[in-house]
């Protein structure tokens, strides 16, 4: 195996690995069939390095892995492997590298961008058996965990020491820390406590060549380039995580939530800016619009104000004295911003009930609609009112309802488009509605994904957000870790041809890249 593989020149890169289409590129596309002869070759190679019970190939066994949380994209993998040790992961990756077999890693399969969507010619590498909490060090305030450990399980294990793991995506009861690291997940409390990248100290990663590298470390500022920051959020494309060390933070003595009602979404958006301008960093700051409230209240019975155009949930945590001071300050700001009603939680059960609606938005959506499509984009906070109004108008045009619940504190939107997937026209309209929302996010200075990742879902929108030179550098970064291009191919970074097909090339300053390339 050569020690250094020079990257191909940029002009070679797109033709080097022209993908045979091996997974659906849109929700309306059919699944790709499995090549049975190839499957047998791959199976015999993997059975030589794994116990029989770790290798699945019959359709009834692999069907549960055909999609992740983005269920409108489905593809059966050729083979599913469920390794139990790092040595097995190394062996699987080496075999796949030798045979040129793509590998898609999967944690709990709760991801919302199709990051774990299998490849018809590939191996689905399930890390669920890596579910051990290796060590909790209460004085150092760290937890060393395997990637299949559930996010909430880390906090549960740390609780006896008065500590917890702060990033709390709404799926935390089910999602895995490995998946969180792959997506750089956020959650309600990330405004104050940071994203996953701010809370991970060390990642132990196996490359496609079967080499183990340690990124970051227990000591701050590891030497060399910050590869840990690069790895977090890399969506399974650079290496497979087998262990990580994360930070634990002391549990605050007390937390209180204010529920503030507003007569217009603009007023609610302005109130969000006012809180930040007042020098307050709330533990959580979430917004739910009228449609969202109507959707969640009958389900969660949280006591939400059904009259309001939008409600804000604003949390303060700390010592009792700190919380008293901060809650008074927050109330004053909300009153100044024209809140029509204010309620403060008076007990822990009441605080949890206030949050129940927001945290259960998905099950609530499932109750009022056969299907829903959860979008994820981020915009500068000051554009909240404007974007919500634009989404309101889009509902009319697409003939579909859209509720909005989101992390207002950091401008991370989660529009929930309600539709019926059995109606192919509604499915197509829901998809188009989502695309328009994302492009609006980019247009107002934001990004196509705040926390759910790009995966397969937003790969086309990457053509709008980035120039070809930038996308090429992403491909080169990928190549630095995975020259073979076998880890999670056709996700995250669109090739030149894909952008040309999609027709949404990023044109900056009137200069069209590769002007002589034929357009389809």
């Amino acid at each position: 195996m050569p020690a250094v593989i020079d990257p191909p020149s940029l002009t070679d890169r797109d033709t080097q690995r022209e993908p045979s289409v091996a997974a659906p590129h849109s929700p309306l596309a059919a699944q790709m069939p499995i090549d049975a002869a190839r499957q047998q070759d791959v199976l015999s190679a993997l059975r030589a390095v794994l116990p029989a019970h770790c290798v699945l190939w019959r359709e009834e066994e692999t069907r549960p892995y055909e999609c992740d949380g983005l269920s409108m994209y489905r593809q059966l993998p050729m083979v599913v492997v469920l390794p139990e040790t790092e040595a097995q992961v190394v062996a699987v990756l080496r075999r796949c590298r030798e045979l040129g077999v793509p590998v898609v890693a999967r944690g709990a399969g709760t991801g919302l961008s199709g990051g774990a969507l299998p490849h018809a010619e590939g191996v689905l590498l399930g890390m669920a058996k890596f579910n051990r909490i290796v060590a909790i060090d209460p004085l150092a305030r760290t937890a060393t965990v395997q990637p299949g450990v559930r996010n909430l399980a880390i906090s549960e294990a740390a609780a006896p020491h008065g500590l917890y793991y702060a990033p709390d995506p709404s799926s935390q009861v089910a999602c895995s820390i490995g998946g969180n690291i792959a997506e750089n997940s956020g959650g309600v409390h990330c405004l104050k406590y940071g994203l996953t990248v701010h809370n991970v100290l060390r990642a132990r990663v196996v490359t496609i060549d079967g080499e183990v590298v340690e990124l970051g470390g227990l000591a701050p500022d590891a030497p060399g380039l910050d590869l840990l920051a690069l790895y977090v959020g890399s969506e399974g494309m650079l290496g497979v995580l087998t262990e990580a060390t994360v930070k634990l933070v002391p549990k605050p003595a007390l937390a209180r939530v204010i529920m503030a009602s507003f007569a217009t979404v603009e007023a609610a958006g302005d109130a969000v800016s006012a809180i930040i301008s007042a020098g307050i960093i709330p533990a959580g700051l979430e917004m739910i619009d009228r449609k969202g409230v109507a959707m969640v209240e009958p389900f969660a019975k949280a006591g939400y104000d059904l009259e309001a155009a939008a409600i804000l949930l604003c949390e303060s945590d700390g010592t009792p004295e700190e919380v008293a001071e901060e809650v008074a300050h927050m109330q004053a700001v909300f009153e100044g911003a024209g809140a029509t009603r204010l309620a403060v939680s008076r007990s822990e059960p009441e605080r949890l009930r206030f949050w129940a609606g927001r945290k259960n938005a998905f099950p609530a959506a499932g109750r009022v609609s056969p299907d829903y499509y959860c979008m994820d984009g981020t915009i500068p906070r000051k554009r909240l009112g404007e974007v919500l109004t634009a989404i309101e108008a889009m509902q009319e045009r697409y003939g579909l309802r859209c509720a909005n619940v989101f992390h207002a504190g950091d401008g991370n939107l989660h529009p929930l488009i309600l539709f019926d997937a059995n109606d192919r026209d509604e499915l197509a309209r829901a998809d188009a509605f989502g695309v328009e929302i994302l492009e609006l996010c980019v247009a107002v200075g934001g990004t196509v994904t705040g926390e759910h990742g790009v995966g397969i879902e937003k790969i086309n929108q990457m053509c709008s957000q980035f120039s070809r030179d930038e996308l090429d550098l992403f491909l080169a970064v990928k190549h630095a870790f995975d020259p073979s291009g076998l880890l999670n191919p056709e996700k995250l970074i669109p090739t030149l041809h894909r952008c040309a097909e999609y027709g949404r090339m990023h044109v900056r300053g009137g200069h069209l890249p590769f002007a002589d390339l034929p357009r389809f």
């Binding site: 020690a3 593989i5 020079d6 990257p7 060090d137 004085l139 150092a140 305030r141 760290t142 008065g162 500590l163 990330c190 994203l195 080499e211 590298v213 470390g217 227990l218 000591a219 701050p220 500022d221 590891a222 030497p223 060399g224 380039l225 910050d226 590869l227 920051a229 690069l230 959020g233 650079l238 002391p250 605050p252 006012a274 930040i276 020098g279 307050i280 004295e321 001071e325 901060e326 500068p380 906070r381 950091d410 934001g446 990004t447 196509v448 705040g450 759910h452 790009v454 957000q465 980035f466 070809r468 030179d469 930038e470 992403f474 970064v477 190549h479 630095a480 900056r508 009137g510 890249p513």
Partner: protein, 380 residues
């Protein structure tokens, strides 16, 4: 030549300089105010041409209600910090300047954080986005102005601390924090072992500690946050001693950040048989007092910061022995400052697959190895 960016005229000159250097095979010494020039390995190329960003300066946008500031790379750090202070905000990582010409671009490229690092985060934790010129002279943007942004690989954060090895920063977007409502410093006489034990114990509690240091048999704790929280912490930790007078406290923390504290004065070059140096040790939490390998039976002087995670050693220590010993503790060592150049590399070595990945990344960003060759690592 790809032309997907309309490059502003001033940056076009830099772009041309980069392309010309690529053709000629000439190295480029990328810098701003030169305040961090002492830091890192010497450049591999003796005849590197200067590429200086200090004229490319100015705050592009600053939105206190968005907690974001965007500035051209050559913007003086003093100017940026003054603009933030005027609106009651600050850079959470409390960076050292090491000179009044320090620029924000150099600050991000050097990746050095000050006393607040363990409480608030490192430089890279606050980087939201960057604009840069790569080794082909192309102008590229990564990240943006919003913290919640997972589109693509995190190249913006990768550039923090890269010492110019991957490209020329032209603009940075940073998250800013509100200044604390209240702040108090305690100075508590105690020995090193006791201080480290206390730091560990306090860090596990929800105390508003923004900085923790130890020098000259005294533990210094800075408490920052809501008034009620700070007052409560003073009562709990202060042992009845009066807090340090605010101007003295600010002076102390600044002297640590800027390394003007008497501890940091390098002994004269003639005082020790080997080249004296200031060594920076980065250690995992819960690391006990150090007994580093000594030279000539003299224990190096120690100053502790970041609650124990960053420790400075002054005096003659032999590099290889020190590195091996620190690695055994799970940390790493940097020869931060010295009087003389040394054949020994400044940073802990990289090897194996990690080094291979570094080489490939360098090639991807800077195919002709133009930028600061050797500064981050002898091979990069």
């Amino acid at each position: 030549m790809s032309n997907s960016e309309a490059i502003p005229p001033a940056l076009r000159l830099f772009s041309e300089q980069i392309r010309a250097a690529g053709v000629d095979g000439k190295a480029l010494a990328v810098g701003g105010g030169g305040t961090k020039a002492f830091y890192g390995n010497g450049l591999r190329a003796a005849d590197a041409q200067a590429l200086c960003l200090s004229a490319w300066r100015g705050i592009v946008s600053y939105e206190p209600s968005e907690l974001v500031v965007v500035a051209k790379a050559g913007t003086p750090l003093v100017e940026l910090e003054a603009a933030l202070a005027e609106r009651g905000q600050m850079l959470g990582f409390e960076p050292p300047h090491f000179g009044h010409q320090a620029t924000i671009g150099g600050c991000v490229a050097a990746g050095l954080s000050g006393p607040r690092r363990m409480a608030s985060g490192a430089v890279r934790d606050f980087v939201l986005g960057i604009e840069m010129l790569d080794g082909r002279g192309q102008l590229l943007r990564f990240g943006g102005q919003v913290m919640k942004n997972v589109a693509g690989y995190d190249i913006a954060r990768l550039l923090a601390g890269s010492l110019g090895a991957l490209g020329v920063l032209t603009e940075v977007s940073l998250k800013v924090l509100p200044r604390p409502l209240a702040q108090t410093t305690l100075a508590l006489p105690m020995g090193q072992a006791q201080a480290l034990a206390a730091f560990d114990q306090w860090a596990a509690q929800p105390l508003p500690i923004s900085a923790a240091a130890w020098v000259d048999e005294t533990a210094w704790i800075r408490l920052s946050g809501a008034r009620a929280a700070v007052e409560g912490a003073v009562r709990a930790l202060g042992k009845g001693l009066a807090p340090v007078e605010p101007a003295l406290a600010d002076g102390f923390w600044t002297s640590l950040r800027e390394q003007t504290h008497p501890f940091f004065t390098l002994p004269s070059a003639s005082a020790s048989p080997s080249s004296p140096a200031l060594w920076r040790l980065a250690l995992p939490a819960r690391c006990a007092p150090l007994a580093p390998p000594q030279e000539a039976g003299v224990a190096p002087a120690t100053l502790i910061e970041w609650g124990g995670a960053q420790r400075w050693l002054q005096g003659g220590v032999e590099g290889a022995a020190l590195r091996a010993w620190v690695a055994g503790l799970g940390g790493h060592a940097t020869r931060f400052r010295s009087h003389h150049a040394s054949a020994d590399a400044v940073f802990s070595p990289l090897s194996g697959p990690l080094l291979t990945i570094h080489r490939r990344l360098k090639k991807a960003f800077d195919p002709h190895a133009l930028f600061n060759p050797g500064r981050l690592h002898p091979e990069l």
